[in-house]
Symmetry: C2
Subunit: 311 residues, 2 copies
């Protein structure tokens, strides 16, 4: 029998991805700017319109859909479909009744989940995590998103925050303050959102080529690492932080496989071996080696993952 | 109906505790030096003798026992009762067939588990963790032992190391090398076994009162913190490490309650508020506050915990 089709939305910080999804297959998809700084409520009519366009393209009606899955950054109560905490984007989301929106717009049941947990579900069911009952995803993007599957079950925890706060592991007690209030979190030490602050920590490198660039992201950092001492330094310090964060995830969750995703993984050739060496240099892992690999569903993991919750 | 009685052994690094256990009750108990540096095999006849003495005291025979539980530091395959890794004590333990020993000595089935996981089971079933489905134990002793209960289940993971490696979370990427090979683990930065090395990091304090002491442990550190600048400095740095480790545990496992045990908790008045503040200063915990509390079964948690596995 053919898999049921679902509507899936991935509310990213910069882009919103939408699709009609059947298992691992994205039948029709579209995307738009998220304008997440303006909140979510203003964007809902556009999202509904785009989704209806997809239905039209597919010659399907809402009643053909098994439900609606939405992936969103932040801490999500996936039992009551409530957004509990969200940081610096879609700030109005906790006050929106998305159950009601899904019902009124299409008559569909909603399945809401954290974005990295959705991506973990996608990679686990249809991507690199397939066949493993114990897996960890670490997404290096604007922040550091994490999620874990333990003993064949996605990890959620009592308050829905287990697994997804790996970016806020303290890896440098002497580090700088993070957006969560603590000091030395992996995200504060090595993520795109904090890159401008991270660079300020090296005033002796005021002549770095980096400061002449229109935009400094990790693509720039990796690109200039061969020629610019500051870029090399920042790259190496961040590699060390990511590796420490990855090791903490492995120590916490004991996975067979560690999947690395996110835009920064464009520099996979440098990142993967560095993390693999750290993770498998651990004296306690007598059973063998954690498989360290790149994610396979680069842009679609959260869409198919949150879609899988509907079925 | 009365709870079944079991034999329980807690193989600590310095002391071996033995008891006849019925639920939370220790009917008869004894203990001896572990001499763990000499291995476990040499100690087994003495352990058997002590256990038989307990049976005699209780006017019971091995056939009255429901089984034998053994708690041991290290990574333990609790399905096959194999010790996978053990560090610096009972080094011969991985080569001993304890199933066979239990059978041949008393005709009993064996239940083998990591010591901190056993203590977590004890606190969860009979101590401070009672009534909570999500709990974390952090034992500050010779090392830093950890364990977690998530969604009503003790966390073991694929290779039996989930939950118990919190002492090897990297909390200081710029830190010193640990006995596991990595750098900046919580244990390397703030535990009794590494205290002599930790003190060496402050050569400018050569005149510290600490160096005149016959034995430097955390009791000494806390005692001298009021009068000696080095003791105060080390105490504060270690508090910071323990708090970071505790926060990482909370971020990893999302517990309702964090239970602190181990000998260093004799300084509970200073340690508890410090950890509580760090753990609950986390910007993500919108649901409320993690209960931070001292363990209640100070010396018996592992005994009654591993005993609970038998029944």
């Amino acid at each position: 029998m053919k898999q049921k089709t679902v509507m899936a939305i991935d509310l990213g910080g910069t882009r919103i991805k939408m699709g009609l999804v059947s298992g691992s297959e994205i039948l029709f998809s579209t995307e738009m700017d998220s304008q997440s700084g303006n909140g979510l409520r203003k964007r809902l009519p556009e999202i509904a319109k785009s989704m209806n366009d997809l239905l039209k393209q597919a010659s399907l009606s809402p009643s053909d859909m098994a439900g609606l899955g939405i992936a969103i950054p932040g801490i999500v109560d996936s039992v009551n479909n409530k957004i509990l905490t969200i940081n610096d984007k879609y700030n109005d989301a906790p006050d929106i009744d998305l159950n009601q929106w899904a019902q009124e717009t299409w008559g569909l049941s909603l399945f809401l989940e954290n974005d990295t947990r959705s991506a973990m579900l996608g990679e686990w069911k249809y991507g690199k995590g397939r066949g493993y009952d114990n897996a960890v995803l670490m997404n290096l993007g604007t922040g550091i998103g994490t999620s874990a599957v333990i003993e064949g079950k996605i990890l959620r925890g009592k308050h829905f925050q287990a697994g997804i706060l790996g970016g806020h592991f303290i890896v440098n007690v002497k580090g700088e303050q993070c957006n969560c209030g603590n000091y030395g979190c992996a995200e504060a030490e090595a993520s795109t959102w904090n890159l401008p602050e991270i660079l300020k920590r090296y005033p002796q490198h005021a002549d770095s080529l980096l400061f002449g660039q229109p935009k400094i992201d990790f693509k720039t950092i990796f690109q200039f690492a061969d020629s610019d001492p500051l870029a090399l330094l920042v790259r190496n310090e961040c590699l060390e932080i990511w590796a420490a964060c990855a090791l903490n995830l492995v120590n916490a969750y004991d996975p067979e496989i560690l999947i690395l995703g996110g835009g920064i993984m464009a520099s996979r050739d440098i990142i993967l071996p560095c993390i693999e060496q750290k993770v498998n240099g651990n004296g306690w892992a007598v059973w063998g080696k954690v498989i360290v690999t790149e994610a396979s569903l680069i842009n679609t993991a959260a869409l198919v993952g949150v879609g899988s919750l509907v079925i």
